[in-house]
């Protein structure tokens, strides 16, 4: 009996201490999961079945999201765009810190869904089709923008948003801004440096583009052949100097350099 009381006392004393410890660990966890909505929102609990919720709670959230993604792939093949959108929402709810779901979810909406309703066998006049296509693009854009708020530290979603502005909306200025944002994040692909320049040219901001290319060239001392593709940069500088009618003596590359 004495031993059992001792055991009980041990449990209670430990319990009182451990609660504080668990709170500290939970605080640490929230720091790691910046931007993640904890505890899980009630919306999520409602939208998923009971068993699913348990799995999600039991540390199998990733697997749950993955299987939802596989059904999204099925919905895409059957061109059920509303279902694709709903499933993408669930994936990003389950794993908001996984860029893949935001990225590919948005691509499905802004490209696949949008192109399908515009050119596919859907009834309605041209205006209606254009309106629907535009709506899906906006949905994709919205998904990417929300994703950026959750994962602001990675370049990928900015890059995708830039792609969307460029290819789906034709807003080259905004696209350039997005690529610039992406480049400020670690591990951004280097070709985005040139994308900024291309976008500025496409936006017919030749002066800004020229300044940008020159700045890009000057920000590096070495200009050997590498992933920066200095030949392309040089080519664009020289092309813009002709367009902008820059006098020879003011040109960036003087014959003396070579």
């Amino acid at each position: 009996m004495k031993l059992r009381l001792l055991a009980l006392a041990l449990i209670v004393i430990w319990g009182a201490g451990k609660v504080g410890w668990e709170n500290r660990l939970a605080a640490e966890r929230k720091v790691v999961m910046v931007g993640q909505d904890l505890p899980m929102s009630y919306q999520l609990r409602d939208s998923l079945g009971q068993g699913f919720t348990m799995a999600a709670l039991g540390g199998f959230r990733g697997l749950a999201a993955d299987s939802l993604w596989l059904s999204l792939t099925g919905a895409w093949q059957e061109q059920e765009w509303e279902r694709v959108a709903a499933l993408a929402e669930m994936c990003v709810l389950l794993q908001p810190r996984v860029a893949f779901f935001w990225d590919m979810g948005a691509w499905n909406l802004a490209w696949n869904a949008s192109v399908a309703v515009e050119h596919g066998p859907v009834k309605g006049g041209l205006d209606r089709r254009k309106h629907d296509a535009r709506m899906w693009i906006e949905a994709g854009k919205d998904l990417l923008e929300r994703g950026i708020r959750v994962i602001p530290e990675k370049p990928i979603l900015y890059q995708r948003l830039g792609d969307l502005y460029w290819r789906r909306l034709g807003n080259y200025e905004q696209a350039a801004e997005c690529y610039k944002e992406a480049l400020q994040r670690p591990k951004a692909p280097l070709y985005l440096e040139r994308f900024v320049g291309f976008m500025l040219e496409k936006a017919e901001q030749d002066r800004e583009a020229y300044e940008y290319w020159r700045h890009l060239w000057q920000s590096f001392k070495e200009h050997g052949v590498d992933q920066h593709r200095w030949d392309v940069v040089k080519e664009h500088i020289q092309k813009l100097e002709i367009t902008l009618a820059i006098p020879t003596e003011q040109q960036f590359f003087q014959p003396a350099d070579h």
Partner: protein, 291 residues
């Protein structure tokens, strides 16, 4: 002191050799291997290299679930058998303390769990590395050894996915989580001799443990307005049950987010503290139990 250590190690060694003779272990191992092999199922889809996330999710789930069964069944099968076949009488007629029996059993089962996980992790890494090299080789072949900038970036992404050192961090956390399950199952096996009882109690604690943080937050909230009965209930859960949500960093790591080893160490420390207390309480209860 030295004698105690020798006793514990002898019992741990015997527990381990006995455990690896259990047929159910081999069934579980084969099952886990099938699931790991199944992770290459995702490679049929084109995920632009992101299939590593899917492969990892499935593999970690497989290792977690099967590992959970290994952790659950080990103590729940071996400790009642020791009582039922009365080998414990022989054991305790020797100058062996009951706590040495408890700690020895726990260590033997942990050794089993560790080797199981090491084996599964090793096999999974091989599956993933071979997938990475086949993807990379495809690119190298199509580009005739001169990959474009985009392809180079893709190869780098494959490498980052397949050779991610954070995977070991996630595996360490899964291991710690399962060690905690083992000690809980050892705890319940000092209270009762029915395998079904031990398994269901441990599973119950495991499931409630994932909700413990919710109960704790609610209990500690200054203006929860709960009735005293609810408060007592929430307090009991918060005080008695470990917070399994702590291990949810596994999700973050697989999701590709950096988690500091410092945080991992804190979690290991917490698990260690819980283990020591649980083994102590188990020993006290076992000491007072008549056999």
């Amino acid at each position: 002191m030295k004698n105690s250590l020798c006793h514990i190690l002898a019992i741990a060694g015997n527990t381990f050799t006995e455990a690896i003779r259990q047929k159910v272990l081999y069934v579980l191992t084969v099952f886990c291997l099938i699931m790991l092999g199944g992770s290459s199922f995702y490679t049929q889809f084109d995920f632009h290299g992101d299939e590593f996330k899917f492969m990892k999710d499935l593999a970690y789930a497989a290792i977690s679930v099967i590992g959970l069964l290994v952790a659950l069944l080990g103590a729940a099968m071996l400790i009642p058998a020791e009582l039922e076949k009365r080998t414990i009488y022989t054991l305790l007629s020797k100058p062996v303390r009951k706590f040495e029996f408890i700690v020895g059993k726990y260590l033997g089962l942990t050794l089993l769990l560790t080797l199981f996980m090491a084996l599964m992790a090793g096999i999974f890494m091989l599956v993933m590395w071979s997938h990475e090299s086949s993807l990379t080789n495809d690119i190298m072949a199509t580009s005739q050894g001169r990959p474009t900038e985009l392809q180079l970036q893709q190869i780098n992404e494959f490498r980052a996915g397949a050779y991610d050192p954070a995977m070991w961090q996630a595996l360490t956390l899964v291991w710690a989580k399962l060690c905690l399950v083992t000690v809980i199952s050892v705890f319940f096996s000092t209270l009762a001799s029915s395998t079904v009882f031990i398994v269901s109690c441990t599973l119950f604690v495991y499931l409630i443990g994932h909700l413990q943080s919710v109960a704790r937050d609610f209990w500690l909230a200054p203006e929860s307005g709960a009735s005293w009965l609810t408060t007592v209930f929430l307090a009991a859960i918060s005080l008695l049950i470990p917070d399994f949500q702590t291990f949810n960093l596994i999700d973050e790591i697989i999701g590709g987010n950096r988690v500091l080893w410092l945080n991992t160490r804190h979690i290991l420390l917490y698990t260690g503290g819980y283990t020591v207390i649980a083994l102590g309480v188990s020993s006290l209860l076992f000491e007072s139990r008549e056999l």
